[in-house]
């Protein structure tokens, strides 16, 4: 039996879905979190031992006439897949708007059960809904639900669902006579529909607090979404999130973790003894355990980060952030809605890029998708931490400044896109629903954190493990499959592949094959940069996340790598601001949906990484040593070529005026 879950955005569908299937799909207290349909089997404890029910969680829709891609998915699913029963999740605090969609669903002829969700919020506001009468007027069962806690109405809901299967569904509103092609007829019919809804609501609902009056929420909003104050608060909140995960709580947990990895390595070492060939032992101990261990040591930091981000998303603050940032984003041709994918991108760029689907304006959506990877993601954290530890004495400003550089690049990128596509005069509107504030669910945040941790561990155990092994092998052997002698590392397979590319990067200060190899593996997973460096330089003993410091001899590592601090900074920035890992590029491809934008985006990211690293290295070297760095001239030529091309693109478009009125936000 197939059940479809549908309803207005942010009505609690996904939370309900999680409650009845036992899954932990991602939720967030803002409209637009679910963008694809998700399937799951309803818990046997609810459905009864004989029935097998799959339920599908659809993205939110305000009506059947779709304007956004999410509403399209909903409409298509219901019309094509023919679910047996539809559960219409309705936000109980919002009947007047929600029931519009409900009446449309009732006309489909498929049995409907209304889940009157968030009933607990209504109790707080002293709004009373006569459920029995509502059920009678709609002609379908209405079950009060709350998505969390024990007495949540799920059993009653599912038993109602099972009971209405095969029943004929009547509808209080009949729009079958309306000619869909005639706009005026449709409009008139929709107005009548709203009239019907109004009548139903007035008879069924009794409110104590009028929603057209200011409440305490508005007072809070006035502070949190204030023009200037709001930005300050946002900056403080983000700083808090990162410092807790990177400086305080994260490393604390990481301590114990790395301790385990170390002892594990020691145990394996003892196990294989002296009898095994040093090559094999090296591959196992240094390549696999060492390399992967270096990465996994950062897991606690990432887990804390995701936990905090989940709390942030759940309390309803994200929507206010979009409002605050709208003023600034408008100046670069984007809207406040673009900030949400970027915040999510600080955890992982993939869901961040996917979150751009809620942005209606095509150009803004694509621009945001292309720029979101500039925000350092969780996978880049180990890289930042490593370099901050080796070259900059764990200074906190390293990490913080990387985020600011990311933001700066996003602004520059957005401006460039606007100039190149020439849509400066497009009038686009910003509208964002402001959900009610709520205390974030700790349980949900923990679930989210664990699910991410699981994904990370799996990734570490597969992709990263594989990469490290391959790298280790490639550096140990040369093309004739002989073991490379000590001191002749340049003849190894790895070196011969990386060296040609290294020449291109000399102007950036790190034209050394080891570093280039690490950067290349970074495209498979950014964590690999750390892993590969650990393998290539044999510094597995030194990397330890205890307070983000290295155990012994930070200076040893620095000298082994042979980089000045400036060059190290340039290298760090290069890895952070070039195209993201292939998985993220895949997500970009899916959202951009246009080859020109995709290659343009990748080229832009490559160019930016090169640009930023080049100037950091050259100017930094000039400041610190008074001399210019290597390869200044060729680097400068490359930069000029890139800049010239961009200017050319801008000139070409400037001659085509375009005034488009598009819906943004």
């Amino acid at each position: 039996m197939k059940v479809a879950l549908t309803g207005n955005p942010n009505s609690g569908k996904t939370s309900l879905f999680n409650a009845i299937t036992g899954k932990i799909e991602h939720v967030g207290n803002w409209a637009g979190v679910t963008i694809e349909k998700k399937e799951g089997e309803i818990k046997r404890s609810l459905s009864g031992r004989d029935t097998f029910i799959t339920s599908v969680d659809l993205p939110g829709a305000y009506s059947m006439s779709p304007f956004t891609s999410e509403e399209n998915i909903t409409k298509d699913y219901i019309k094509n897949e023919n679910p047996d029963v539809i559960i219409n999740v309705v936000d109980a605090s919002n009947l007047s708007r929600s029931l519009f969609f409900t009446t449309q669903l009732l006309e489909l002829g498929i049995p409907v059960v209304v889940a009157l969700n968030k009933s607990d919020l209504n109790k707080k506001k002293q709004t009373v809904i006569n459920v029995v009468e509502l059920s009678q007027k709609l002609g379908c069962p209405v079950v009060e639900t709350v998505s969390s806690g024990n007495n949540n109405g799920m059993e009653k809901l599912i038993s109602s669902v099972v009971a209405v299967k095969y029943k004929k569904q009547s509808s209080p509103f009949d729009s079958s006579g309306v000619n869909i092609a005639d706009k005026r007829e449709v409009e008139a019919s929709d107005r009548k529909r709203f009239e019907l809804v109004k009548n139903i609501v007035s008879e069924v609902e009794h409110r104590q607090v009028r929603s057209s009056r200011q409440t305490r929420q508005d007072a809070v909003d006035r502070v949190l979404a204030h023009k200037w104050f709001g930005v300050l608060i946002f900056a403080v909140v983000m700083w808090g999130v990162f410092s807790i995960s990177q400086t305080y709580l994260g490393p604390l947990v990481a301590d114990t973790f790395v301790g385990w990895i170390d002892s594990f390595r020691g145990w394996v070492d003892g196990l294989i003894g002296k009898g095994v060939s040093p090559v094999l032992s090296s591959i196992l101990l240094d390549g696999i355990i060492g390399g992967v261990g270096a990465v996994v040591g950062f897991l606690p930091l990432i887990m804390v980060l995701f936990f905090l981000l989940a709390l942030l998303e759940d309390c309803g603050y994200m929507a206010r952030v979009a409002v605050v940032m709208d003023m600034f984003f408008k100046r670069v041709g984007l809207s406040g809605k673009s900030i949400i994918p970027m915040i999510i991108g600080t955890g992982c760029a993939i869901p961040g890029v996917m979150a751009t689907r809620t942005i209606k304006n095509e150009r803004q959506r694509r621009t945001t998708a292309m720029l979101t990877p500039f925000m350092p993601c969780g996978a880049k954290l180990p890289v930042i931490a490593l370099f901050a530890g080796v070259f900059f004495n764990d200074s906190a400003w390293v990490g913080t400044s990387m985020y600011f550089v990311g933001i700066a690049l996003i602004i520059v990128g957005a401006l460039l896109v606007v100039r190149i596509t020439g849509e400066k005069n497009a009038k686009s509107y910003f509208i964002m629903e402001l959900p009610e504030y709520k205390f974030p669910s700790i349980k949900r945040a923990v679930m989210e954190m664990l699910s991410r941790a699981e994904a990370f561990v799996i990734k570490a155990g597969t992709v990263i493990l594989l990469c490290n092994t391959v790298v280790q092998i490639m550096q140990t052997f040369n093309w004739k499959l002989q073991i490379v002698a000590q001191g002749a590392e340049e003849t190894s397979i790895l070196a011969s592949i990386a060296s040609p590319v290294a020449i291109l990067l000399i102007p950036l200060g790190f034209g050394v094959w080891q570093l280039v190899a690490a950067a290349i593996t970074g495209f498979i997973a950014k964590e690999n940069v750390v892993g590969t460096l650990a393998v290539v330089y044999g510094i597995t003993n030194f990397i330890d996340t205890e307070e983000l410091a290295l155990v012994e001899g930070a200076t040893d590592v620095a000298s082994v790598m042979g980089l000045s601090s400036v060059a190290a900074l340039a290298y760090l920035m290069f890895n952070l601001f070039t195209p993201p890992c292939f998985a993220a590029i895949g997500a970009m491809n899916a959202e951009l949906d246009n080859k020109k934008w995709l290659w343009g985006g990748i080229a832009f990211q490559l160019g930016m990484g090169y640009f930023v690293a080049f100037f950091t290295y050259q100017i930094g070297t000039l400041i610190t040593t008074g001399a210019l760095g290597n390869g200044l001239l060729p680097g400068l030529i490359a930069i000029c070529a890139m800049v010239g091309y961009v200017i050319y693109l801008m000139r070409v478009r400037k001659s085509i005026p375009s005034i488009k009125i598009g819906l943004s936000g």
Partner: protein, 94 residues
Amino acid sequence: MEHTIRTKIMTTINKRMKTYASEVVNLVKAQVNREYTVKEIKTNDDELKNFLFTLGCYEGETVTVLSVLGENYVVSVKDSRYCIDRDLAEAIIV
């Protein structure tokens, strides 16, 4: 002297007429915390009009500006709270 008296009378009459005649007000000029009835959604964008409709914002329905946050306006339509920007607020005539 006659001229100035006449101008004075005319300006006063004009002022009075303005307050009695129905002023074209959009949400930007609307008073905070007062319920208004939507008269028109002034835009060429059909998609926007339709979208606002599904939220319950169309001719004949009530809308209230709850607060002003810089260039953005928090409005209440059908028991829901939305934040809209100045461009959109200007398009909603009440």
